[in-house]
């Protein structure tokens, strides 16, 4: 990380600003080989960004203002809205699940079902997609625009512009997931037991039964990979992706589709880990 701190030659090739834009392909449809090469570039650049993100030098005094600005602007405005929306949807789902479980005489499984459905499955995925739609994909579009117009590229563009957006996206996903999970757990307790604290011991025990070591590990890994995907993929596509024919909105849609496929794969793998 010495090269980064001394602002000399970048230590990774992708940090260099693209001097010559890549030529547009003759057709808009890419071949499978081209798609593979594109994904490989994204994965490679994502790994390099992750390495930079784990380096203490990245959080030096010079980069802190940009980092703090992106972290705040990507998290704080979304936190309230997402928490409110998540709480409303969670309360509706909790009510449906609890009433259905009671009607079938399976009330003892209602809390477990609520915790599994909301906290383990829905909230992390929803938070990741919310952050992607509200933050990282628009930020990726900013990077792509800067790249296309060669705006703000002198200096250390990866450290100054790309990496703060990546770290902000990852941070936003973790914060939204943590807040929403706590809100959902509190809401589930209030729906089932009301404002009495008599059910706290049983509720805590039931939550403990759900969060076995295996399930907890899968939950943490799932949130980690979702946050990495949401933070890295839009920026990596914006920085390394080919400049093919199409509008900015079309490119954003392509990034969203690719990100959605990755999120879906992570969700499927976590479901297999939890229930198979």
């Amino acid at each position: 990380m010495r090269g980064i701190c001394e602002f000399g030659a970048p230590i990774i090739a992708a940090m260099r600003p693209p001097s010559v834009p890549q030529p547009l392909p003759p057709t808009a449809r890419a071949t499978p080989a081209q798609r593979f090469v594109d994904w490989w570039r994204v994965v490679h650049f994502g790994a390099e960004l992750l390495t930079l993100a784990l380096s203490p030098a990245t959080y030096g005094r010079r980069f802190r203002p940009a980092l703090a600005r992106h972290v705040y602007l990507d998290t704080a405005p979304n936190l309230l809205w997402f928490t409110v929306l998540s709480a409303l949807i969670s309360l509706v789902l909790i009510r449906i699940v609890v009433v259905t479980a009671y009607s079938y005489g399976l009330s003892q499984f209602a809390i477990q079902m609520v915790v599994r459905v909301l906290v383990l499955e829905l909230i992390p995925t929803t938070a990741a997609l919310f952050v992607a739609l509200r933050c990282t994909i628009p930020r990726g579009a900013e990077i792509a625009h800067m790249r296309s117009t060669r705006q703000a590229l002198p200096g250390e563009p990866v450290l100054d512009e790309v990496l703060p957006r990546v770290v902000a996206g990852i941070f936003a996903v973790w914060t939204l997931v943590a807040v929403s999970c706590v809100v959902a757990l509190v809401g589930a307790y209030l729906v089932v037991y009301g404002f009495a604290i008599g059910g706290l011991a049983v509720y805590t025990r039931t939550v403990g039964q759900v969060f076995s070591p295996e399930v907890s590990m899968i939950f943490v890994l799932k949130t980690l990979f979702l946050s990495l995907a949401v933070g890295l993929i839009p920026m990596a596509w914006a920085w390394t992706g080919p400049w093919r024919r199409g509008s900015d909105a079309g490119r954003e849609l392509q990034v969203l589709v690719r990100l959605f496929i990755v999120v879906l794969l992570i969700e499927v793998v976590s479901l297999m880990g939890n229930y198979y």
Binding site: V71, L73, A76, T175, V182, R205, E252
Partner: protein, 321 residues
């Protein structure tokens, strides 16, 4: 999106940005650490526990993390399920120390598998004054498998239905019995009635009827005889009034006899007093005789003494040469 999007760096400066970013960071760290601690607390990581090992025939439905309940309250968690050396399932349960006093040496543990819902591990302590269950105790769990009872129930129901089919089949003993009952009912409704059913033919039935007629005539004669006997016994000149007068006379005779016996009793008491006096006199005679004997013995000794001292006493000894 055709226009250049506004970058955060180009946006207006956020007041107290560092402070707000730090607050967000602290919020996230607190939430993550708090959630982790809460899950660890919910999993019972911070509770001092003691180990209980339950031996079951099979561990179907038993998973790590499920509760051991006592009176509906969870008092323990299954930590691990393993296969024992003898092929049995060993269910390792952690019981918090504060709840361990509900388990006694006489406690009974059951493993109940229901058709709908999960498997339940329950503890029953009938005598709470027994010694508490020690740490590491090994107990055999009793099975209450509802699902296992269903095949037995179906088998029993199949046997029952087969027996019913056998009973109700054509030519079965029950069917023949019902036919016989039908024939019997027809006979009962016939001219012979129940008597014909019992005796089998009309000749016997006629004999019974003739016997009944004769019995009726005999009863009529007995009725007249009874009336005459009543007059002889209980009439004015019958036996019973005379017997009553005789009893009165006997009562008077018994009173006289009782007075005579009292007199005899007095005589006997006097005779008893005489006898007592005679017994006392006899006792005095014995003392008198002993005194006379003593006096005579003394006189004899005195005479012997006088004879020995008297100078003319004869020589009564013969001296041989």
């Amino acid at each position: 999106m055709s226009e250049a999007p506004e970058t955060p760096s180009a946006a207006a400066a956020v007041p107290h940005l560092a402070l707000k970013a730090t607050a967000l960071l602290v919020l996230m760290v607190v939430l993550l650490c708090g959630s982790a601690l809460y899950v660890m607390y919910a999993r019972g990581v911070f509770e001092p526990t003691q180990r209980l090992v339950l031996i079951a025939e099979n561990s179907e439905g038993v998973v790590a993390g499920m509760d051991l309940t006592f009176s509906g309250f969870p008092i323990g968690r299954v930590r691990r399920v393993e296969l024992g050396a003898e092929g049995n399932a060993r269910i390792l349960i952690d019981v918090p120390r504060e709840d361990a006093h509900w388990l006694r040496t006489s406690s009974v543990f059951t493993l109940v598998r229901s058709l709908v819902g999960g498997t339940n591990l329950r503890a029953f302590s009938g005598i709470l004054t027994d010694p508490p269950l020690p740490d590491g105790a090994v107990r055999t769990v009793l099975g209450g498998d509802t699902a296992a009872e269903v095949p037995k129930l179906i088998g029993a129901a199949r046997d029952l239905l087969q027996n019913l089919n056998t009973l109700t089949a054509t030519g079965s003993p029950l069917s023949e019995s019902l036919g016989s009952v039908q024939a019997l009912a027809d006979k009962l409704k016939g001219p012979g009635g129940a008597l014909g059913v019992l005796l089998g033919n009309d000749a016997e039935r006629q004999k019974v009827l003739l016997t009944l007629d004769r019995t009726n005539a005999l009863l009529a004669r007995l009725d007249g005889l009874t009336a005459k006997t009543d007059a002889q016994l209980f009439g004015n000149a019958g036996v019973m009034p005379e017997a009553r007068a005789t009893v009165v006379e006997l009562r008077g005779l018994l009173g006289d006899a009782r007075a005579s016996i009292k007199k005899v009793d007095a005589v006997l008491q006097e005779a008893q007093a005489v006898g007592a006096n005679a017994r006392v006199a006899t006792t005095d005679l014995g003392a008198l005789r002993s005194e006379v004997d003593t006096s005579l013995r003394k006189v004899e000794q005195l005479i012997n003494e006088v004879n020995r001292k008297w100078p003319f006493a004869r020589e009564t000894e013969f001296k041989l040469p």
